[in-house]
């Protein structure tokens, strides 16, 4: 039997336990992407309407290229300069949504944590970040 046919047999054989794993394994992966604590999906946030203050935690260049309408910049490096500007725009009745580039970046979580440490309530992180926004829009 040729190597390719043998390989095809093995590929098929692996399907059976894989299907059982997908159906019954106590620790099988979720088929839709799980979201981390403190994150919200864009669809949910858009449902909040205008009661949202968007915070862009990316670099100045990325912000200048494009950003969520009315988003204000805030990051840990320029905290002392940008946080007072954030306070000027902040309204206690609004939910604060922080975003960075993508799911893998941690900047939005760090900024959200710092905001909470500074007494800001209702702080969320956009799941998927700017990439999610771009995909949706």
């Amino acid at each position: 039997m040729s190597a390719v046919r043998q390989a095809a047999l093995i590929l098929l054989a692996a399907l059976i336990p894989a299907l059982l794993t997908g159906a019954f394994h106590h620790n099988r992966p979720a088929w839709s992407e799980p979201i981390a604590p403190g994150e919200e999906r864009l669809e949910t946030i858009l449902g909040w309407g205008s009661a949202v203050l968007w915070v862009d935690a990316r670099s100045e260049k990325e912000y200048a290229d494009d950003h969520v309408p009315n988003a204000i910049r805030l990051n840990l490096e320029e905290w002392d300069t940008l946080f007072p500007r954030f306070l000027d725009s902040w309204d206690r009745r609004k939910k604060v949504v922080v975003y960075c580039s993508s799911t893998s970046c941690q900047l939005s979580h760090e900024v959200a944590e710092r905001l909470e440490q500074n007494g800001i309530e209702s702080v969320y992180v956009l799941h998927g970040g700017w990439e999610a926004w771009k995909t949706m829009k």
Binding site: A14, N27, P29, S32
Partner: protein, 150 residues
């Protein structure tokens, strides 16, 4: 001339032992890696996601299927049944893994390999990359075997 014949004969005797050792190492690593990941497919799906190469759903399917493929192909190579097919699969997997690791290094992702699920963490990408090169060399030794052995 005589010396050359001697070393050639010694090499001829040594090659089967080298191939057997190589087969055990290659098969063993894949069986262990597959078993470690099959124990926690959800964790492995997250490790795949860190590479930022495929959408979540694709990663979840790979996390469910790949550990079993590794284990079965590794076991087949070890016991010597469907050996060439198993070797073909393991070689292709090694090429894919090595490319993924290289891509992660080039993009400066700073992630762990995830090759053994959560069993061996904080390995980075360079060490697994070098290990994969070694394993590809092992696979090349086995490909050099002429007999099918089925």
């Amino acid at each position: 001339m005589e010396n050359h014949e001697m070393s050639s004969r010694q090499m001829h005797r040594f090659l089967p032992t080298l191939r057997l050792a190589t087969r055990v190492v290659l098969a063993g690593i894949f069986v262990i890696a597959g078993a470690a990941k099959a124990y926690d497919p959800a964790g492995f799906a997250i490790e795949i996601q860190r590479y930022q190469l495929v959408p979540w759903l694709v990663g979840a399917i790979v996390a469910t299927y790949l550990p079993w493929l590794e284990m079965i192909a590794g076991a087949m190579l070890f016991v010597g049944r469907l050996k060439r097919g198993a070797l073909l699969i393991l070689t292709l997997l090694l090429v894919i893994f090595t490319c993924a690791l290289a891509s992660a290094m080039i993009r400066g992702l700073g992630i762990d390999c995830g090759c053994f699920g959560k069993t061996f963490q904080a390995t980075g990408t360079l060490l697994p990359f070098l290990r994969n090169i070694f394993l590809l060399a092992c696979a090349a030794v086995l490909w050099s075997e002429r007999s099918e052995g089925v």
